[in-house]
Symmetry: C2
Subunit: 213 residues, 2 copies
């Protein structure tokens, strides 16, 4: 059911794909085999019409009065998102945040393999976290090559983030997942996604504001 | 310049407001006083036309050939998002993730006050993190009342998240910020925002997939 023309999916739909994927995985884990566009829309926060339009754009059509097959949709979207491939990732900065990320249990089920951890603190270098040993940042470049790491996860303080990103890019990573609260510049051929807690917090605040006197 | 009719802002625009806010704060921190709709659009990933339409919907109009005043926009959006108020928050679960969150430096500048930390581990209870002492979860209900806590941040393992949410709701919080990788059910009058790392990871994967052989 996966079509071959998802090069034509609109940007807005692409932005919603990870939300579809996350929500459908949750629904699958709850044991449901079928989901309606109404239920999916309610959970994601868009209209059922938008759901049907989005899903149709990559060739998934529900059955009227029945709904969509959850497992099939998960598989389709997984392929479109490139999650059927294996990506090797490295986390740079093993403070509390990096440590929490290193223990994130969903990496494997999303197709990501934690291939290396780096820190500059000698007290942390050499420790084993989730089966992966912490290396010195001095070994960053050689390890990225030898372990074929495609994605670097930046969990260092804001002031060090750009320098770490520059080294990652020079060493050949194709993507950066940034958790430092600062804007990082990368060349056009490197993908970057930044996590920023202010987005979730301000969404919550917006809704509370209308409700709490 | 803040208008009084932002009750009519569309859902899609509301969803983008936190991105505007975050991006404009970054631009301000970089020292720019003026930003064009082109630059803002490029950074957020929407068209300049969409930017102008979104901003006009809450009464902000740039000057042709000049742009928008960054500081003014930040203030306007801050008010719309309710970030000019002070929200008291509590973090439940002080593992690595909770610890990292407790040290998040932007809480104060966003109007959030870290009012309490809770854990069930006697080795952690009593510790002082970022000036806040860790309390036993046994004291959850009384502390939420006495410290007027409106938002609970769930940083416990997935299996404990719903039970913690139920206690928070019963104790009177109005909002929950959930970091456990599980769906949490709350009554309709309680707001919930869930952070899910799979969204950022799959966005990255989608873009890498077309680029890495």
């Amino acid at each position: 059911m996966l079509n071959s023309k998802h090069g034509s999916i609109s940007r807005a739909t692409v932005d919603r794909l990870p939300l579809y994927f996350r929500t459908l995985r949750l629904i699958r884990s709850e044991g449901s085999e079928i989901v309606s566009s109404e239920e999916l829309g309610r959970r994601i926060g868009v209209t059922p019409e938008q759901i049907r339009k989005d899903l149709a754009s990559f060739g998934a059509f529900g059955k009227k009065g029945v709904g969509y097959h959850v497992a099939e949709l998960v598989n389709n979207i997984s392929q479109i998102l490139g999650l059927d491939r294996k990506w090797n990732i490295a986390i740079i900065g093993v403070g509390h945040l990096g440590w929490a990320l290193a223990n994130y249990r969903n990496f494997a089920s999303l197709g990501f393999h934690l291939a290396a951890l780096f820190d500059q603190n000698p007290a942390i270098v050499g420790q084993l976290i989730n089966g992966v040993d912490v290396l010195s940042v001095a070994d960053l470049e050689t390890t990225i090559t030898s372990r074929n790491i495609q994605i670097g996860v930046i969990a260092v303080p804001a002031g060090e983030a750009q320098a770490v990103a520059d080294r990652l890019v020079a060493a050949g990573v194709h993507g950066i997942w940034n958790f430092a609260p600062v804007r990082i510049r990368v060349p056009d051929d490197v993908q970057i996604v930044s996590e920023d807690l202010s987005v979730g917090l301000s969404t919550l605040s917006y809704h509370l504001r209308r409700q709490v006197p």
